[in-house]
Symmetry: D3
Subunit: 248 residues, 6 copies
């Protein structure tokens, strides 16, 4: 049940059953010569909608642009600064908390968002207490990174070993191939590099990872793998969300 | 050509042909008892993608949450504060301008965004000059409100007269019915009120417009109307965008 | 009754009769080779004081510097960034609302302020609700642009046709000539250009409009015209203000 | 030579002779039952204009609202927060420094502005260096408090002794009486209190100083005194400004 | 070599040998009924100074107050909001980077700082690039959490098993006992709870963890343990820092 | 009684006796070729702890980095911008005020902090009122500059005359020599300059005061002087603090 496809009266009714909401957050950033710029948002959104369906939960609109400053040396990348993203999260949750929502489950598609999201939750908890929003002391946020869920991680290792790498990975590329088979890209990849993980500023990133990948080999991706990843992620996160809803 | 479905190498190539980009911006706000909360984002995104196809232009990801503070008295509404939205626009355009983009065409689905967008452009022009971004003196933003384009406006008047109203209008509801026929909602509407236009804070808005509509009668909407609005909007905005690209 | 020429005890008494206040806002920006840099503030202040007298209303001190970033390529121009102006408006209205004022009538002399003012009102309504200021739900702001009032607009068209232009217009220059006859300036104007309206950043503005005017011919202005404009503006805005005070 | 009554071409010429500018800054705050709310702005502006005339210097528009948070318990008081005032000063000086001004002489009418102005200068020096504004390393700000100039201070002590107090003083009230003789107010003052100087928050201030004065007896003020203060202040600050202009 | 005990000329010389600097960061927050409020700062500072000595490196002054909003329900806790801490880090590193430092090694004593520090690094990298600080593309920050270093972690598990818990742990308490034996506190602890890790807002934290501890049993701590932890941490972080300095 | 060496339960008890707290604030800035970069923090902290002991008062952790933007032309200097320092103070006091503290006594070691601290107090008083923190109307801050206390000032004049100067003074250097005799530095000082006091931006400061001192001769300092200064400062500030605690 997507918030965007609901009416406010439906939301009002829904809140009587559940005060949880799923918020997909991705990024708009280069994913190497063959990965889609929207990979992180596309994956997060698709999984979020499926989890929403499985749990009859509301799904908020996707945060399409996240914290990707280190990728801004590549054209097409868009990023919020962390301080801006904190304000965005604060504004979102202030509205939703006043509507009556108390449990915010962020399905996240981008590792670079994790730290800022965590900082934003702390900032927001304090802000909602300052505003004395009803039930502020019960507000709870959780980040669910689909690519780090147990079964997804295991399958990626099994299929790709250390060629999974850590950016523009075959697993996320596979997932977008499954979702958008008509947008499977081909391109020349530089020879495989052993994984390295240092992430500093944008200029350094481009120098260090000239075609944008970080130790990954996305040529291994297939749409069939993508389907597997999708199904596992939806299953894992459905379980996580249900657990989150009842946890205290 | 959606930015999200492109690679950075494709964007790099594209920039050699055109430095324009289309950015859809909507809102996540109540649209009366029968209008979708995502109406403004849904309409802006669909039109933007069609204009992008017609002009072979890049289309950025949709800004799903805009300036809708006055609607926050209704559950499900989400809003950025104007000062946050200014930062978001500034961050977006700083990234894109450094990538080489110079012409930003915002296809907007929500009247409440117009003023803040304009303020954000001014803030951004100055910011880019401060940063001495290449070509900063040629950066140009334009807001294209699909619902105010000439032929759309005329059709709405012709079909609905003063029952078009100014929020949760039959024209925008029709457009969402065309795009999402499986999500056509029914519901009881209060008797028609003559249009009023005052918009103050959220509490006042809810008191003044108890079911969320502003002088509109969305029960007049049909998916067929929606198709007409869609086609007219795409045609109008395609022309506007092409003109924008060549204007100096 | 100017706030600056009142005591706090007089304000306290006045609030028992009326909770409205007039706030003049102008700009400090180039107005072509013969227009005063203070034109927008001078006009707004003079009209506001006259409206205040006509309505026995309080008039706040003038906001002398507004949003004029696009004029900052010309020496002597001063501007706030939009984000700063929003904070200024928020701070002003927070104080005044806590004093008991509820109706804020901005008499504005500068087109460039309009969008940011509107954004600032939205930001402020939400801020006052956050602070739970007494009567926050009844706070109301309105922008009254003297140069866009009906009779002023008609007279300008009648006297100057399309030589009115859109910046450093003969109508506003005339008004300053009426108010400050000893500061009527002469200077060489470039040949008349047909009006153009594009406003981007400061560098672009100076390139596009080399002497600062936008399609206007201020040499047509006379102090006598200025008196006519003044009288019409005061009459129009007096009516608007009275209507604003009783509107709900 | 008031900036507001000049054209940009005159400013351009003037900058060839002098890169100094005088900026009056006041406040909009209660001044006891008989003092004008605009006292600090009125005094600063009048003195600034006279110093400008005496030195053929440019005078910027007055900053009418300063840092008066502690007075906001009295109706009619308006204040910026210190953090907002810092941004305002930063925005002003960024524009003027880019125009070519390097010496900023703030003629100040309100003790409560002093600290924030000093903080704002430091913030601005660093900001202008960040922006690499031409001549940023020569930018210089100075605060000139007319009420603390030597001869003014001596006359106040001579005329009023410790009844000068520290807020709503007879000296500043006298100055406004000289400038606005038609707005001389009468009112009942509570019995004289010995001076106390503690200034905390607004609620505390109102409790501590119930009618707004701080140990002052403004009933001693006369317009004739006001003329004396005015002449002394103009003389003192003219000398200070000339010294400031040539200092290195 | 503590920065505070050096002169600027010594720093200038030192920069010719090394452009690295160690920055201790702690927190000022409740650590249960028997743990010191300064635990995190005390530990980080002592370890940082020892690592500085071992490596002949400069050690900056300690950031005593970090991100501890969730502990603010207990008296004596002090916290920056994440958005403030980001600005603090940005200001610190801007100064130091302009001095010539390029490698920033944060020795951290508080888990709650980790996310905000990471966000702050990203914000700062972009800020330094915006400012075009010399060598901005080589600036590098690293967080070294002493309590998560390999040998420390192993010893804690060995000594305390799951009674290490996750806040007010015996390992950190032991370290402060070693450093400040005269401040070993006694107090009644509630019965041991099995570890739980949820951290939301301040009110929830106090409700969930009534005496401030999170599944820990600090009564197991001894000064002798503390010495062991200290030595292990210094050894581990000395190695990490040396590796960091030569890494590219 | 240092806050860092207390437990939260001790603080809770302490608050029943006294709601005052001492907060040392220094700076991290060049102090000439022979003065320690940490001079201002070292002095403030040592004096604060001694005053705390003498008065059985709580002493918060030291603010090690203050407002020293004008010193940032010398390597090793660290500074917050004034706007950041205001936020830091606001965050600190919000936490402490919510804990129950009402009297904040800042023992300050750096002249450059004074103005920003004062601005920060005003900002904070208003913020605490906005938050409706219990007892917000009784919150009180005071700055105690040890180097300006009566007896310290007199001794400095007596010992050094005008060679005390105003930065990197022999009195503060002496105090650090007393506290850290093993860190007494030697170095060549340029010939004595007569005192000058102008402080603008960082580039100007370095040009004007090439080795960092302002008219001071720190070679006159001795550890014995330092002890005298320390004892006088502790005595003076102990008296001031006790007076502050009982003042209303």
């Amino acid at each position: 049940m997507r918030l965007h496809l609901s009416t406010w009266t439906e939301v009002e009714l829904h809140l009587q059953k559940s005060t949880g909401i799923i918020i997909p957050i991705g990024s708009t950033e280069q994913h190497g010569p063959t990965g889609l710029i929207g990979t992180d948002a596309i994956c997060a959104e698709a999984i979020a909608i499926a989890v929403g369906t499985a749990t009859q939960s509301l799904v908020a609109p996707t945060i399409n642009v996240g914290m990707a400053l280190h990728h801004t040396g590549f054209p097409g990348t868009m990023s919020l600064r962390p301080s801006t993203l904190i304000l965005v999260i604060r504004d979102y949750l202030t509205c939703l908390a006043r509507s009556g929502f108390t449990k915010f489950f962020f399905i996240n598609g981008h590792g670079g968002n994790i730290a800022t999201l965590k900082a934003a939750y702390a900032e927001t908890y304090a802000h909602l207490a300052d505003l004395n929003v009803p039930n502020f002391e019960r507000i709870e946020c959780q980040t669910a990174n689909w690519f780090m869920s147990g079964s997804v991680y295991r399958l990626a290792k099994e299929l790709y070993g250390d060629r999974e790498g850590s950016h523009a990975t075959p697993s996320e590329v596979a997932l977008t191939q499954y979702l958008y088979p008509e947008f499977i890209k081909s391109g020349t990849l530089a020879p495989h590099q052993s994984p390295e993980y240092k992430i500093l500023g944008a200029a350094d990133f481009r120098r260090r990872y000239p075609d944008g990948r970080m130790g990954s080999d996305p040529s291994l991706a297939t749409p069939e793998h993508g389907k597997q990843f999708f199904d596992l992620a939806v299953k894992d996160l459905t379980a996580s969300y249900l657990e989150f809803l009842v946890s205290e």
